[in-house]
Structures are given as C-alpha cells and as structure tokens.
Amino acid sequence: MILNILIGIGIAFFGFVLQTSIAGINRKIVGRLQKRHGPRWYQEFIDIFKLLSKRSITHGWIFDFGVIMALGGIIATAMFMPLTNNFLAFENFDNFFIFVYLIAVGMLGMAMSASGSGNPWASIGVMRALTTMLAYEVPFLIVVLTIINLTGNSSLTEIMLYQQASGNNWFLIALPIGGLVGFIALMGMLGKKPFETYVAPAEIASGPMVEYGGKQLGMLFIMNEISAFIEVSLFVHLFLGGATNIFEFLIKYFVVYTLANLISSVNGRFKIDQVVKFFYKWPLIMAVTQAVIAIYFGWVI
C-alpha cells in the first residue's frame, strides 16, 4: 500500500510538472500568435515559486483550511489518475466517478476559503464558478453515461483497453458528437476563455482569487495546474483511447491542451447566464442525441 501511495504522489507531481511546462509553452505559442516574443517556457514555475516565497496575509483559520482542503482534494484525485493503460497507482480503483466528485472537494475547499475571505468579489466569483460547473457537468456526464454503457465498465483503464482492443477505434471517432460535447465541456472545466466568467480579471478582479497573496495563491496555482492535468488526461483517456506508452500520452495531452488554449486565446468571454443557456441548449441536445443513437439504435461507427 505504501508503494502505491508513493507511486500516486509521483503521478500527482508528474502531472504538476507536465501541466506547468505545457502551460508555459502555450504562453509562448500565444505570444508568438500575437507577434511578440512570449515568456520563457519555465515562466509558470518561476511564478509559482515566487508566490510561495512571498509573505502573505490570512483572514482567519477558514481561509487557510479551505486552501489546504482544496489542494489536498486535488492531489488525492491526481493520485488515482492512470497515465498509460498499465501504469497507475491503485489497481482497478480508477473509477470515473471518483475523479468527477473528488474535484468537487477541491472546488468546495476553494469556494469555502474564498467566501471566508469576506470579499464580495470572491463570493460572486465562487457563485459563477459553481454555476459554470452546473452548466458543463450535465452534458459531459451524459456522454460519459453512453461510454460506460457501451464499454460496460466505468474504470478508465477498462475504457482505454476497450478502445484499443476494437482496432484502436477511439470514442472520438466512434461517438463524434459525444467527442465534440466532451471537448466543449473540457473548455468549461479548464475555465478557458469563452467560459472564463469566474476568473474574469476585468470584471470581478480575478474572482475567487481576489484576497489570496503569497503562499495561498501559490498553492491555488498548483491546484489549478493539477486540476487542468486531471481534466485533460480524463479527456485523453475517455475520447482518445488512452495511451500504450508514455510518449503517446504526452503527444495526445499536448495536442488537446494546445488546441483548447488556442481556441481560448481568440475568444471573448460569455456572461454567466449565457454560459448556462449555451450549455443547456446545444451540448445537451447533442449529448442526448448521441446517447439515443449509441444506446438504443446501436449505431456506433
């Protein structure tokens, strides 16, 4: 058990390092997109360690307890994440619902400490984050319902093996509409530009993060990176057939995150009720049609 826990911590740390460096590379790509030089690739690391080295302020014990609970929840989720179809910390315990609901612990921790900081902007940011979560969660779970119904097993490694076994037929190809809904929901989960209403720096002064300074903000940045790692690797395992070796995983991961980031860098920002209206109009209809087609008529490409 101790060895598994160590492997889990290794996976979580690997996820953090991977996501932070890819985010740094993406900042450079977006820089080049805007015809400017763009920062160094390890700029995200420097930002995080700079934050950890500053002396910050605290608004009471709930302000710190929430941040610890948030980072703890997210690290716990990342420890369950399989990287390739045979490399994971806890054998056949990587159930899909663990990821969806342990991220909710992270979200609850951050929400609690943000509204505990006593700043109205933080509470408004938390309200927007929860509303966005309500918006993108339902279509995503409907598509995952179809996937689990087809594969008959809700553990990520089984889903990977199912996709690799049937002639490497990824669910992105087998369920095209479902894959599209999954990607839109991924954009919502990552908080990328069209759905970035809860960290809107111009409107509500960076939302929930308004009162965080040195080390709390650094820990929240780490939490943000690891949750991005969880969400993107969930997408890779569910829709792109996971990976047989680590390099395949890295390539798929990089392609998915960069695509999401590029779309985000050319987009404006929705108002919060537009986000809810959008997600309950198109992605939900597409998810339901995909589910009906796949489960009842059995037309799976």
Binding site: A12, H59, L71, I98, M107, L145, T151, V210, V292
Partner: protein
Amino acid sequence: MASVELLILFLVGAGVIAYILTRFNTFLGSIFTIFAVMFVFVSLAGYGFGMNMDTTVNILPGISFTETYLGFYFAIIIVFVYLMVSFFHPYYLSEYKYKNSYNLLFLLSLAGILGAFYTDNFLNLFFFFELIIWTTMFLIPQGKSKEAAVSYFGFSIAGSVAMLIGIFITYNVSGTFSIYQGLAALSGTNAIFVFVLFIIAAFAKLGSFPLHIWLPIAHGNAPHPFSPVLSGALVKLGAFIGVLALIRIAPATGLFTAMDLPIGQYVVAILGSMSIVFGTLMAIKEDDAKKLLAYSSMSHGGYILVAFSILNGIAFAGGFYHILAHALASAGAFMAIAAVARATGTTKMKELGGMIHKMPITYLAYLIAIISMAGIPPMGGFISKWLIFQAVIDKGMIFVGIAVFFGSVGSFLYVFRPLAALFLGQELTEYKKVKEAPLLMLIPTFILMGLNVYTGVFPGGILKFINNIIVELGYTGIEVSTYEINGTNGILNPALIGLIFAVGSGIAFLIFIVLKKSRKVELMDTYTAANFVHDEHLLHYAVDFYAPLERLYEKQSNWMTKFYTALAEKVRELGKLGKYLFMSKNISTTVFWIVAIIIFLLWGEVL
C-alpha cells in the same frame, strides 16, 4: 428479549410522565424525554440487529407484530434521529406556548413509528400512521404558523385516504388484512389500482413532485427542533410505503422494451427525477435556510424513488443506503441551522452572515452534513449516489440520468448557499456577541459528524445488513467485501479514497507549514478597489446568491402553487353550487333535489 409491545406501552407511559414533568419544569421534562428515547434506542439496537425482538402481543387488543429486516432498518434510523433531536429540547421548549404537550406528542409519535414498522396487519399500519400524522399535526403549529399544520395535514390525509382505499381493495381481493399475503395475492388490474393508490400515499408523505407543496411550508415553519425530525425521519415513512408499492407489488404492467422496466416503474422513475430537478431549482432560489433544506429533502426523496423504481439489487442497495445517508445529513444540517436560529433568532439568509467566527463547531457540523448531502467522496452521500449512478447507467436511462446528474451537481450549489451566506462572509455587528451552542446541544452534532464520516469511509457493515433486506425482498444483493463494493460496472474502495484524501491533505498541510507564516488581517481590510468602506453589510454578499441562474427560470417557478390554488378555487365553487342547491331559501327546491338524488341512487337497485 425486548418486546415491541412493551416498548410502545413504555413510550406512551413516558409521554404522560414527560407531560407532568414539563408542566413542572421544562428542563427536567426534556431531560426525561432524552432518557426515554435513549432507553428505546438502546433496547431496539441491542436486540433488533440479531432479529430477536419479542413480537408476542398480550395486552393490546387486535394488534399483531412481526419482525422484518426492512421494518427494523427504518425503525432504527428514525429512532436514532429522534434521539439526536431530543438533545435539543431543553434549550428550545421554553419559548413555545404549549411546551408541556410538546414532549408528550414527541414520544407518542415515536410510539407510532415503532408500531408502524413492526406490524404486519394493514389496519394496524393505518392506525399507527394516523397516530403519527395526528401527533405531528399538533406539533408543527408550535412554530407559530397554523398554515404549515393545515397544509401538512391536508396532504397527509390525502395520502392516508389513498392508502386506506388500497387496503380495502387488497382486502376484498385476498380476504386478509395481513400485509405480505395481501400484496402477494394481488394481480392484474387490481394490482395496478393498488399500486397507483400506494404510490399516491408514498408521494404525499415523501413530498415528491406532484404533491410537494406542503414540504417547504411545513418544514420551513415547523419549530426549530422539530424540522430535523420532520425531514430526517418522517419523510422516510413515504419511502416505506414506496418500498411496499414499488417492490412488493411491482405490477406486471406492459414491459418497456428498451429498458426492460415495467411501465409503472418507469413512470415513477420519471416523476422521481422531476421532483429531483424541481427540488433543486426551487432550492437554489430559496432565501430561508430551513425552506432550502426542505426542498433538498424533496430532491433526495426523488433519488430514493428513482432507486426503488429500478428493479435490481444495486439500485435497492443505493436506495436504502441513501435513506440512511440522507437521514443523517439532513438531520445534521437542520440541527446546525436550528442552533444558529436559537443564537440569532432568524434563519433568513438576508439577515445573517459570518456566523463561523462565533460558532465554529456548528459550522463544522453543517459543512460535514452538506458534503454528505452533495454526495462528495469522504462522506456517506457519495456511496449511495455512486450505487444509484451504476444502476441508472446500466439500464441506460438517459432522461433519468440527466435529472440524477443535474440533481447531484445542483445539490452542491444550493447546499453551498447557506454555507457562504450564513456562516462565511463578513461578521455582522449585530451578531458579534453571539455565543457557541451549549455543550448538551453539541453532543448530537459530534455524533452525527462522526457517523457521516463513518458511513462514507466504511460502508461494508451497513451494506451487508442492507443485503439481508434485499434478499428478504426477493432480489439478489450486491457483493460487498470488507473494504470494496463492486457494482455492476466498477469497483469502489471508499476507505482507500478517504485514506488518499487524508494523504493529499497531509501533503498540502506540509507545504503550508514549511512556508512563511502569513500575517493575520481582520475581515474588513479587503480589496475594495481602494474605496474606504466602513459598513460590513455592504461587503457581505448574501441576498439572492445565484441571481443570474434564477433569472433564467423566474417566471416558471410558481406553476405548481398556481395549479393548487386553482384546484382549491374549483372545490370552493363546487361547494357554493351545493350550498345554492340544498340550502336555498324555500324548502321546496331543497326537498325536490334530495328526493331526485335518492331516486337516482336507487335506480339500479329497486327497479
């Protein structure tokens, strides 16, 4: 060998003694009630688990008891909730008008519950139900709102009448009043008829979609210590009738081929999922914390209905576990709100804020309760939701799936609202002198916190007991080993999740401790874009927390209340017509109408 009949008689006697004692001094009376309920709970738990309660009847005429796993499971949960709530009595009873009758009615309703779950005769079941309904009907207006009692009584009576008609139909079909032979003998159209009537009774007691109007009114305005009992325990009676209807009768209506579910079951599942969605939407809008938790009970009632309408072992396990998890979570949440209401006098979120600074333990109790309500891993709610998801996904029910997923994410939203508006945020000046709840009130909060965590991390023992119930109902249970639950398409190890969550939090705590200590700053010194704001009411964001979300469904939010007022209007007009016909001024018209009615009724018989 504790005997059920003696327990009931003991409770009735204890009620009378409690009445006399509370008349003499409320504190003493309430302490006596606590010991009475504790005695019942200990004897029930001691003998009940081994299924060797003595069910012989020698004093009470015409009453007969049998012992079933199902009945015991419900009884032990409800008696436990009663025990937890009775710790609150000493501090609340002093301000109620009829305080000495409070303890009496409290113990009488407990006697009714014991009887209801142990009887095997339909009439006794109905009699004990009426005992519970009447006692709670007198308890609710102590919270100074007559309308709550009227609406509660109206809907409960509608449910009981439907159940009574069902009982009479089973009687003239099967010839006996015994529950198990009676239901087994039903078949064909009679079965469907009784199924529908029992479902109406279940919906009325559970407060599910079509008959949910009374839930927020009754729970919202009930006296503070009684609403945890109302929503934690009494809603479970509806679940009990639901089990009788959905599993015992399970009429062989036409099969719904795609999901191989009988049509009746699927309709109940759809109604259950509608009550989840409407409960969540109404709860997000609600401003009073107790009404909000009432709507959450409505949505969790929907989960229980969906679980029981899918006919396989996984769904039943999920349903029964959800009954336990919801009972503990909503009792804990309501008691936290009651503690806040005692300290500040109001439960409106507009007027409250920053209660965490003076009542941290109540805050922790509420936090753990809502983590379980939202179905988040380390707590019990997650296990039951996971089991229900397994069942819904296996059956491939998409629209029920939408409602179930919407409910689980939505429950995170509306349970967070009181947390943010009531407990966190700026500390308002008028609540600066508020003190933490007294020690006696904190004992149940600690116990409930521990139980919520226990049911979430070690569900093995409880699921094994639930397997007995499922086998007793005639379905195959789920395989549960000490640490793992294997559903049909996945394995879950809740102890491992709890451990890993602890490891993760340990790492985060380590990072936090290693780094430099941060400077304590009081709450008013926040970033207000350099404005000098001196009034913390301006900095506390509590009023209509999810405003953009509420705007989306503002107009459609009171359809059901409009429907019921229209219905009431129709009944009043019918009454006026009757009055006009029969009580008109000249006698001749009334006599004529009476004679005409008699002739019409006897038309078939005489001629």
